[in-house]
Each structure stands twice: as C-alpha cells, then as structure tokens.
Symmetry: D2
Subunit: 352 residues, 4 copies
C-alpha cells in the first residue's frame, strides 16, 4: 500500500493540557505522523519532555511561540486549546491548505446562536462552523475524509451518542424522554488550577454537577436529533467520580416497539474498529478501555416491577482522553488522510 510510506506533518496548538499530552503520547509512536511543532505561548522554549517527563526520549521538540511557529507548513494542526481559541486561528490555516482538527468545542454546534449562548462568546468564524464536519466516525465517516475543519466530539457526547444512536435510529424507543446518567473521571475537567478538582476535594467523594445545564447537552441533542430526524428530549446528568480517566454512561430509554436490541447494536457497529458491543449480560467497566481508543457497550433489560420493564438500559464506557478526545482525533486524522483507520491506535487497554 502506498499509505505505508506516507508521513503526515503534524502541528499541535496548546500541548500543555491533558488532551495535549495524550495526543503526544499517541502521535509520538504513530507510524505515519511526524511531530513538527507544539505551540504554547506561556511555555515557549521549554522542552516538551521537561513539562511531561513521561515523554523523555519520545518527544524531542520544545514548545514554540505560536506567533513564530511555522504551523502553516503542517498537513494538519490539532487544537488542544481552551474553547474560543481555534475559531480565531483555523481560518488562516485552512486558507493555506492545512487541515484543522479541533478538540475544543468551537466547531461542534451548528447553530451559531446556540453556541454563543452556551459558550458565552461571540463566534469568530461562523462560516467555518457551516463547513466543519462533526468528527464522530461512526456517523460521519464519509464526510470526514474530505473535511478541512474537523470538530472533534466532546467526551460525554461520544459515550452518550454511541450508546443511544442505534436506539434513536431504530425508532423503537421514546426519543422524547431519554436519560443519560453519566459519570466522568476528573481529567475531563482539564489541567486547570481550580479548587474543586484538587485531589483533596475530588478524592473519596462523588458529586453531580452542571445541574443547571452542561455544554455537552446541546451537542448530544444535536447529534441525536440528526439520527432521529426530529428533536429529542434528553435529561443529561453528569457526575464526577474519583478516578483520573474514564466515562461511564448509564442510558435509559423507554421502549415503544419490541425488537431484538442486542442484535440492533451488533448490526449497527459490526464493522466499527473502535466500538465493541459486548455479549448479553456483560457489565463493562471503564478500565477495560483505559488508555485505548475504544467504546464498549452493553444492552440490558432489567426487571422493573413484577414483569419485564419497558425501560432499556445501555451501558457505555470510553476513556475520556482517548475515544473521548485525543484518540478519536487521531482516528479522524487517519480517515482524513487515507491512512488505515487504526494506525497508531492499537493500544491494548492498561489493566490493572
């Protein structure tokens, strides 16, 4: 295959957070990627491996000032930045022929007014929003191939959508009353100096948060609405659980029409390299996907009263930093550049 000798020149903007270091972990061993530049205004000059000693011997680059950095020579630039950064810089890159994969939320919501409401900022490039492709390969694989701007999905939206899509597409459940009870490890909150995610606050503790409305809620609803061909109703309750990595989504849907739901899921994801529909009765745990680009799903039909319940329960697990962020971003890169979709993503989950 000619892909075997292909090398993609990669830039990363904002490599100092958790999605950044995870991109570096994956890309530093990717057979077809060459790290060209990692930018950070604050850390310019610092060797990447000084900030992240785990990368000693793996990444020889230093952080460079984004002002001076030759990102335009890259084939692709990943934005692992806070929200509202990529939207200002993507345009120039795309104009120069560099493709953009944005791990932040700037291009995820198609309705710019709704984005502005949730992200409390004026959007800097609505025209790129219109063109951007939502990078959930299990839904948009064909459109991803040619995307110039790729909106990499959020972590919760990945876990919840992969778990609900077959149901919503099937028309066999009540799409007006979906419930997603989601639990996330603390790395999902990012590498930010904030009190509520300190070890002494988040350890040995369990909490709900974002009860007043979480930004991933409109993103999930947007994706499900496309699948349903109509608006959907979703109660989404995110929780913080004392672990570093992992999302566990417990999804509830009321059955409208009896079908073989196990088969529905197996058929839907049969050819997907990174979605694993587990056998009936399985109870997936987050460590079974730790540090790997995988979503594992299990479909259950619990008792409810004396008879079988009309509520279906789907369990969905991902590593929020891999299939929920950096891994999925590399999967999208592979698709965009005609590489084998699994290239550089063949990590076996780390257990225990």
């Amino acid at each position: 295959m000619n892909t075997m000798n292909k090398t993609i020149k990669v830039g990363i903007v904002g490599g100092t957070g958790y999605t950044g270091v995870e991109l570096l972990r994956i890309l530093s061993r990717h057979p077809h990627a060459e790290l060209h530049a990692v930018t950070s205004r604050q850390e310019a000059g610092l060797p990447v491996s000084t900030m992240f000693p785990s990368l000693r011997g793996q990444v020889a680059l230093s952080f460079t000032d984004p002002e001076k950095s030759p990102l335009t020579g890259c084939d692709v630039v990943f934005f692992a930045t806070p929200n509202a950064v990529a939207m200002s810089q993507a345009g120039a890159l795309v104009a120069n022929g560099t493709r953009v994969i944005d791990l932040s939320a700037d291009f995820r919501i198609r309705d710019v007014a709704e984005w502005e409401r949730w992200y409390k900022a004026k959007h800097a490039s609505p025209e790129l929003v219109a063109e951007a492709v939502y990078g959930l390969p299990e839904v948009n694989r064909e459109r991803i191939r040619t995307a110039r701007v790729l909106a990499n999905p959020g972590c919760y939206p990945t876990a919840v959508q992969l778990g609900l899509l077959p149901l919503v597409e099937s028309g066999a459940v009540d799409v007006e009353h979906l419930i997603a009870d989601a639990k996330s490890g603390v790395s999902g909150a990012g590498r930010k100096a904030e009190v509520h995610i300190l070890y002494a606050e988040a350890s040995e503790n369990f909490s709900a948060y974002g009860m007043a409305g979480h930004r991933h809620w409109p993103e999930i609803r947007q994706g499900l609405a496309v699948a349903a061909g109509r608006d959907v109703g979703l109660v989404f309750i995110p929780h913080l659980t004392p672990m570093i990595r992992g999302i566990f989504a417990t999804l509830y849907a009321r059955v409208n029409r009896e079908i073989d739901f196990q088969k529905l899921f197996e058929d839907r994801y049969r050819d997907e390299p990174f979605v694993d529909v587990m056998p009936p009765g399985s109870q997936p745990d987050t460590r079974s996907v730790r540090a790997a680009n995988l979503c594992r799903l299990a479909v259950h039909r619990p008792q409810e009263g004396s008879a079988r319940s009309d509520t279906l329960v789907v369990l969905s697990v991902i590593d929020n930093l891999v299939k929920g962020a950096a891994g999925q971003a590399v999967q999208n890169m592979n698709i965009m550049f005609g590489l084998p979709e699994t290239a550089g993503l063949e990590h076996v989950p780390v257990v225990p």
Copy 2:
C-alpha cells in the same frame, strides 16, 4: 431528664466487618451505651483493638466466642453479621428479653418466600419476620419504639427511599416508572476477601453491577409500595465507584401533577434530625455526610428538550456505613430505649 443517667448494655455479634467497626466507633463514645460483649467465633480471645488499632484506648474488650458469650444479659444485641445468621439467633435473645437490631437483611423483607428467592436460603424464623419492624425512622418511628426485632435498612434502600418517599406519597409522579441510578463506595461490599473489591481492581475504575437483579431492589420496592399504597415500578442500577464510603443516588421520576416539589421535601422532613433538604440548586456530594448519620437531599428540575422537562431529579447522599448501616442502627436503638434520638450521633462530617 431521666434519660441522662440511663445506660444501655450492648452486645455486638460479628464485630469484624465494616458495620461492626463502625458500630464500635459510634457506641464506644455513646453517652448511654456500655459495650458488654463483641462476639466472633474466628477471633475469640483477640483484643478488638488488635484487629482495629483505630480503637486502641477506646475499646478494651476482646472478641468472645458466641457460644460462651453472655449476650442474654444485654439490653440490646446488634447483629453485624452476614445474612442468614441473625435469623437463627434472634429468637432466643428476644425470648430472654434482649432486643435485637439486625444490620443484615434477615428481617427486612416481609414476604418470606420472596426473601428466600433473593437470599437463596430457607428462613429460620418466619414468625419473627412477621413481628419485626423495618427501621427507617422517617417512616416507622412510632413502631420502632416498641420493636423487639428491628430490621435495619440496607444502605441503598435508605438513600433511595428517603429520596423517593415524598414523591411517592404525594401521588404527583408516575410510580410505575421510577429510576434509581445509584453509586456506592466499595465498603458497601463488606470486608470480605474477594478479588473484585481489591484495591487494584476497584481503584481508578467505574462499573455497574447486579444488572441481573440486586437484593436491595425488592427491599426498596416494598418500602415504596407501602408509601404509594400500591405496587411500584422501579429500575434500580447500582454502580461501584472508587471511594471507600458514600452512596450517591440519582433518582428520576416523571411528574404527573405539578406541585412545589422543593416545599414537598422541606415539609416532609422538617422535623427529621438526620435528613437535610438542601436549598434549590444545591449539588450535594458524598463527603458532605462522610462519617456522619445524615442524608442530604436536593431536588432538581432539569431541562429535557427545548422546554422544561417533565422529569424530576432528586439527588440523595448518605454515608453507607453510618446512615446506611451503623449510625441508623444506633438511631433506632435510641428510639427503642427512649433516649434522645441524636445521642451519640452528633459527629460532624469529616471534610476533606
């Protein structure tokens, strides 16, 4: 008050597990309790404080052989034993005038056949089941006062019932489709040598379990059915979360009739010393009740689609070993013996 000089002679059967050591922590400082005997066949002769150095200087007793132990001289005996132990021993104690508080499940389910189905054993004293009082003070306070056999509720059943009771009693929600998404710390599984609760298995991991049916499900349904005056439908999904103590229950109910749900909860629990209805918008966490005999509740009405959802979300937190076990048992003892209900239970939660 005459209670001030009252001293209750207390025995504990099975003091080597987590509910046992928690009982000892509480009772050793209880102003009206005197520890008389702690039995353990396996550990007979061993000072309690050798097994649990945290009790050095607090508990001078050694474990005694239950065969030889003068439990009949006690005013009350707590069973902190595995299931199917108390049912064989409670009868003789009660016949001798000793009251029994059972922290196991032997007397919780009124329908003996159902108990036998879930606990896979023949019940040894169905007649005591008939007489036993279910020890949720917020429901059964009056009957608890005179109970000879007290069935102390399970941890999940405490958190879930306290969170759902006001709704079910109000008739304002659909009791056929209740959902309890519950998360427990690992101590809930007990102090048993089992692989799945090893540190290296349960840490940095999140899982669901008991999907095929959990023993607390019939217990919760029984309590809610009494409150509803009819059978209820409940999907109950327990999860294991990497922390030692704490239960977090996220409870979902569909609203049938609009009422002021915040006020409903505040009115229901106004006089309860150990239930705290938090202000609107609160997001309780499990550490806010750590090591204390408290249930904190918050009532939420999230968005579901474009409009306000018809799904109500109640968050309920307890320490599974305190309000979910040993603390509630002592609360019941206080009620049974006419002591101030809060005696010995005034611990301030340990944060951080």
Copy 3:
C-alpha cells in the same frame, strides 16, 4: 469542676482552607468553646456552611470581613492563614488581651534571620517571635499554659519530632546522621488552586518533593537541637502520597549505645493522652489515626546484614490536619485555658 462551665470565646482568621474547616469541625462540638467569628476578606457575607456544606446545621456563622470583625472580644484567635499574615495581626490582639494560636509558620522559628531566609519575607514582629511558645505539648506543656502567642507546629515537624525526641534526648543515637523519610497526604499542601495537587496529577502517583530544601527542615532541626542540647544533622525527604489525610514518617537513626528502646518510648510518653506507643512488632497505618488527634509510634530494629542492624527504625503516624494542625491547636487551647486537655478531642479514628 469549675472548668465544666467555662466557655471560651473563639475567633478564626482564614477559615476557608483545610485547617480552617477542620478547626470548625472540632470547635463546633467543643464543650467549652463558642465560635464567635470566622473571618475571610474574600468570602465576607457568605455563610460558612454554604462553602462547607458538611457544616450545615453545625455552624451558623457567616464569614465576616476581618476589617470589621470584633475579634478583639475573643478570648483566643486561631490563625488558619497563609504564612506571613498572623505576624502582622497578632500584636494588636495580644495587646488587647486576646491570646493567639497561629497554625501558620510565622512564629515557629526562633531565629528571625533564618525564618526570613526560608519564608522569603521580612518578619513583621520579631519581638513576638521571642515571646512565642512552640506548641508541642509533649515538650512545652508548662510554657504553653501561659503563652500569649502560640506557634502551632507544622505537620511534618509534629510527626518527626514525636518519633525522634526520645532517641535524641536519650543520647543513645548518632544525632549527626538522622534520616526522616516522610510521606504526606495531599491535603498537607492546602486548599490552593495549583496544578500539581490536582486530582489527575496526584492520584495514582507517588513523588518526592522539596529536595532542594523544605521549610519544615529548620523547624524540625530547631526542636531536635533543643532536645539534644546541640546541633543535629538531619536528612529530611518529604514525599506526596495519593491520599487526602495522613503523614507517615519512617525515621532512621544509628544506635550509639544499646538501651531498651521500646521502654524508652513507653516511658517518655506514658502520660501523654495523644501519643500511643504501640507494642513491639506493630506496623501502624495512617488510617488508625484518621480524623483523630493522635500520634501512634512503633519502634523497630530490622536486620541489616547477617547480624542485627545498628540502625533503629521508628514509624510515626498522624493525621496531618488533626495532630498535625487543628487538633493540636485545640489541644494547645485547652492547655492555655486550663481546660481538660482532651476536651473536644475525643474523636475515634474513622476506619475504614
């Protein structure tokens, strides 16, 4: 006893950190303390129990602006502030007859020049340093009774000094080559928004820090030097271990002269209410003192080569927030005001 009706009027400056909330946990149930004011410039007006829901129902006060706060009416004021705050405010309080217990480091180091070197600040009241009493009751009990300014020891210094004092006082070990390998839970770093103590940084990780010199090193050496009657040599290596509370100090000393070291420790601490010398062969763990005002010690003599080692190993555990901070501060208050030394400090350690 006349102490039974004594009530001490207490003020807390800086109640928003971990030593602050721990002081509040202890003092809110103290039989002879009345919380009069808790100040915080930043949080003025906020109910204390809104910031710390664990204190709902226990602490009715709101934070008050230190400028306007009537601290001068207090019998005692605790400073649970960052370093270099108490030194500017203690003077005025003392002048008005209010006694000061400083949980920060401002008054711990008697050599002001050395303090200024380690804390990188000009000391604001050297004259109070001269007068201040170092609050390790096991050493200075008599002087504490009359102290106007009490310097509450650091967490590491408490664990290390209590473990080494009997040895150093005995003259039976080489005081020029002491080693303290100390491990602390993350709460020891305080409730500060800093990246290195985030959950996702500090969990599932173990590290040394402060290799270039830790501020507790001169404090420990000062205390040991007093005990030795000469300068001592100490290598002190602090480590961060993934737990919230607890210090574990492994202390190494070379034996000069053979004596009965177990007996030495037992004799030294026989009458101490908060120091527990465990039996020979004991292996204390930090949870055995969790949330309690206790130091547990074990003395070991391991093999080193083929023969018995000439190195003695002492294991010392405390809860850094209790005996290492707030609990010891309250113990000092009890001594200062002629209360029973254990008043309000009779918590049983929380296990598991």
Copy 4:
C-alpha cells in the same frame, strides 16, 4: 535484519494474575511473539478475554489445562505463577528445548538453603538454581543471551538495585549501611483474595509492612554483594501506598569518597535503553513510567546540618508490573532470542 521475520512461540503458565495480564498486554502486540497457550487449571476453557475484557479483540486464546497443554512446543514459557510452581515444571520444559522465564521467585536466590528459609518450602530443583541466570539486563546481559532458565527479578529488587548499583560498584559509599525506603502500589501484592489489599483497607491509607523481614531483602543483598565484591548491609523498609502501579524507592548511602555522582550514574547507564538518569535536581514520579518498561533515576545531595550532607539520596521509580515484572521479562526474552531489545516494549508512559 533477519530478526525481522523471526517469530517466537510463547506459552504462559498462570495467566490470571497481574503479571499474567500484563504479559498478555505486551505480548499480544509484540512484533515477534506468537501467543501459543495460556494455562490455568482453575480457568481451563474460559476465553482469556472473558476474564480480562480489556483483551477483547486482542487475545483469542482460551485458558487451557496445564496437564493437557502443549507447552513443550513453545520456544519460551513464562511462569506468572505463585512461588514454588515453576521449580517443579521448568526442568521438563528445559529438557525439551523450551526456555523458561520465571517471573516468580523460584530461581532468584542462588543459595538454596537461604531460599528455603525465606520461602518456607523445599526447593524442587536446586540444579536449575545453579544454572539459572538472574535477569537484570543492566548487569547480566551477556549471560542472559544463552540462559535456559531465566530468573526474572522482583519488583523492589529491580528498583533498588538499579538505584544502588553504580554507588556500590564505585566503592565511594559505605556499603555496610545502605537504606532503601521503598513504596509500592497495591498491585505488587498480586491478584489474591486477601483482606489487607481490599480497596476499603488500602485506599486513603499508608502503611509499612514486612518489618520482620521481606523476601526481597536477600535478593537485593545478593545482587549488591556481587557488585560490591563483598557482603553488604542493607535496611530495607517496604511500604504500601494507595495506588495501583508503581514503585518509588528512596535510597540513602553515606559517602566515603567524593566523586561526581551524577556523572557516575550517567556513565553507568548511558547505553541502557530502559534506564533514564534524569538531570540534576529532578524529582521523578511514578506516573512518568506508568505502563512502560522504564526505570528513571535521580541523584540528590541534600543538606543535612548546616553544611552539605555526607548522605547521598537516590530516587528510583519503575512500574512494578512492567520494568518490575512483565516488561523486564519480555526484555529478557528479546535478549535471549536475539531480537532487538526494545521490540514490543516501546510504550509511552500513560499520563495522566
């Protein structure tokens, strides 16, 4: 290179523990290894990926009964068994031309009488002990190439020896008074149903153990004695720290002769692919090697009294399951079969 097409037929005995699943994680992606059989008497017939869902899609084998299993067809068999298993089975395999890599302790101690004293068993094949090669590649690389029986080092011995060897070899420190204060994650205790390593026991807790003598002590002393050319004195205190993976060893040695110790370490390990001597002033943490076959070392010279200390402190970190077990075993396999030493071992540490 001709190695590029070489494939090694691999068997694993006892693949149900942590070193077993870690071997499977590594070997399933090894470019030159083919998993031929994984045996377990208890789990015979069970698909490996049913026990370890993390291996779904990676390992197609089922566990086989060791009695019936064609291990003799393998090029190499790894024993990931409890102690005292490999010693009975290695002989037959070796006689058939299969090479043995033993991850247990059966062949580590050359003095059979000493082995029997520490492991409380009669050794079944002393003659193989005599022949076995101790598999620390940084010491024995040449002898490993031709080994028929390879004794894979223990986790603590790997971390401690790599940290002390340059010092001991240099003759510049006092080898009679070495101290190794070592901290291990809980997976080091294995996947055994034992109470003391339950989550609720080991989490939020720190303890020392093995104070009466740990089996790794004679192993470490044996290795250091070879390097020193004489007997060495070592105090070794192992501790349990609440994390899954990782060993952190803090090593203390008294300097006899001043040399450039940083240079000593850099020179000693310059060509080692899996030992990283960090720059002066570095403070390695265990996560910097998580899930990777690496040992990182830092050399420090702390203050002790007013002057520079004569005590040297070396910090050594490994992942106990990788460089401390399965990874080092594969490194040894690579050496034994003339493969590139880093084949299959190029994992980047997983951070966070």
